[in-house]
Symmetry: C2
């Protein structure tokens, strides 16, 4: 099977978008960015054994490869539009490709994202996606916009994916495994927060690590109350409180949004969350300095054993 | 060494571009497409052992990873602007990364391309690049625009890279090895051909295979005169005539442009080539039907043993 057959197989499954003048099948795609919008571009790769366990279902790999990129667009407050896909496969396995596309295109359809190009090639299993979206100039959510004395918020719940990974061999509960394999990019929330939140990041490497990026870029510190970190019922059922806290604070792969806003915008934040159908929780406050400090229920500083996933850790 | 140190190392070496509102270092880049331009996007991956020989110098891998993408933009007649880079490395080797960037950024600087994002992660050596450019609406060079009775042209010379690969173990001549490791994307020529050529493709999989894409997309056939295929002096010196012809017709990795134009535009084509500083050669004519036929000096049909590189061949 040649590359061109695989590409035809992909092309037949892509729905049209009016702003795609030319999609898959030429040397490049021709696209129209709406007048008065900035283009937002991000790129993220998933490698087997690093970003997903060997043996992960092809459909879940497809979903997750797009989800982690849409999560980056969400963290910018952008509206997703297009993506490219570079897929390296050890062998041309049509059944695997079809299942991969099932997951990839299911998520793409939810957000009306068009796959406009890319390549398929031989190599160890690796999925590189570049995602494109739009934002009104001046409304993008940057990491560097937080001021001192603002609320720190997080969406959804934290720690589920990390718990699923830790419990993988003994069989993680389905609700946790679902969070690891099919993360939900908070696209609608990101859009709703544009113009309200002062800074945002998506939680991919662990809350502490990603919040530290916001603090560094903004020139602020952070105090986070450990007991305010949102946890799912599935996580509470699956592990004890100390382990749960470590997963929530430093686990990674959550793909929730962590963001800041002045205290007086709390009701607007809650309104944005309600419109988006996702819960948000105030977990702390920005402060002077440059450190992220977590405090337990007694006000004592607390740190997990591990402060976030590092790709070359 | 963490991903963030590698990213900082990359970021410090990127020159500014006025249309990059936000480059490397946030969740995504913010970019401004010029008013009245279409966005042109392509993506291509290089994997070790598939797209370059194991042991290729890091700087050459960096150059080639960008070159193959700029070649796709050239084949659209686009002006390059930005790229993202997803780099998978077996281990965080700073010396390797610096050398890789030497090659990547040397070519980027030649075309004023800004690296605006991407990721570095652990995995088998793999380089995925997505390149972005601009084109005036209606002026992009597509594969499907060729009519019957037009000239078929090719830039530069063919077969050098394939010969270098075939001669690798016995030590290919430097001039050939350079064509394999540091292909020259024909960006200026592609720009100059926009509005003159009727169809174009870059020769990455071999002339016969890539010209067949043009024929299929355009609904035409092609007759190519084998003796008109341009060859370098280094190729003529290195191999005999039959092997040379096979490399020229079906070798791949040339990154020349193959394009079509009405006969009466020959002088404009030659003018575009002169302005771009690259030679072009008329190698045949489009005809009715759907087949690509090559003819030798006696007018007899000729076929190489192999009709082009297939990534899963």
């Amino acid at each position: 099977m040649a590359e061109f057959d695989l590409i035809d197989r992909i092309r037949r499954r892509i729905p049209a978008r009016a702003d795609v003048a030319l999609g898959i099948g030429d040397d490049a795609a021709l696209l129209q960015v709406p007048a008065g919008r900035q283009l937002v571009v991000c790129a993220d790769t998933l490698n087997e054994g690093i970003h997903f366990p060997a043996g992960t279902a092809a459909a879940d790999i497809g979903w997750k490869a797009l989800a982690v990129n849409l999560s980056d667009l969400a963290a910018m407050g952008a509206e997703p539009a297009w993506c490219t896909l570079s897929l390296s496969l050890p062998a041309p396995d049509v059944a695997w490709l079809d299942a991969f596309l099932d997951g990839f295109l299911e998520l793409a359809a939810l957000h009306r994202v068009a796959l406009v190009g890319g390549d398929t090639t031989r190599g160890p299993l690796s999925v590189s996606v570049t995602a494109h979206g739009f934002v009104e100039p001046g409304r993008a959510l940057l990491r560097g916009g937080a001021g001192v004395g603002e609320d720190i918020w997080v969406s959804g719940t934290l720690g589920d994916a990390a718990a699923a990974l830790a419990l993988l061999e003994q069989g993680a509960p389905d609700a946790l495994r679902q969070r690891l394999d099919r993360p939900t990019p908070r696209v609608e929330l990101g859009r709703a927060l544009a113009g309200i939140a002062t800074a945002a990041v998506d939680v991919s490497d662990g809350l502490l690590a990603d919040l530290a990026h916001v603090c560094r870029a903004s020139g602020v510190g952070a105090e986070v109350e450990l007991d305010r970190l949102p946890a799912s019922a599935a996580l509470r059922d699956a592990v004890g409180p100390e382990q749960r806290r470590a997963f929530q604070a430093a686990g990674g792969d959550d793909y929730e949004l962590c963001f800041t806003a002045p205290v007086e915008r709390a009701r607007r934040i809650e309104g944005a969350a309600a419109v988006s159908g996702v819960a948000v929780a105030r977990i702390g406050r920005t402060v002077g300095g440059s450190h992220v400090v977590m405090r337990d229920g007694g006000g004592r500083p607390w740190a997990p054993d591990k402060t976030g996933y590092e790709h070359f850790g």
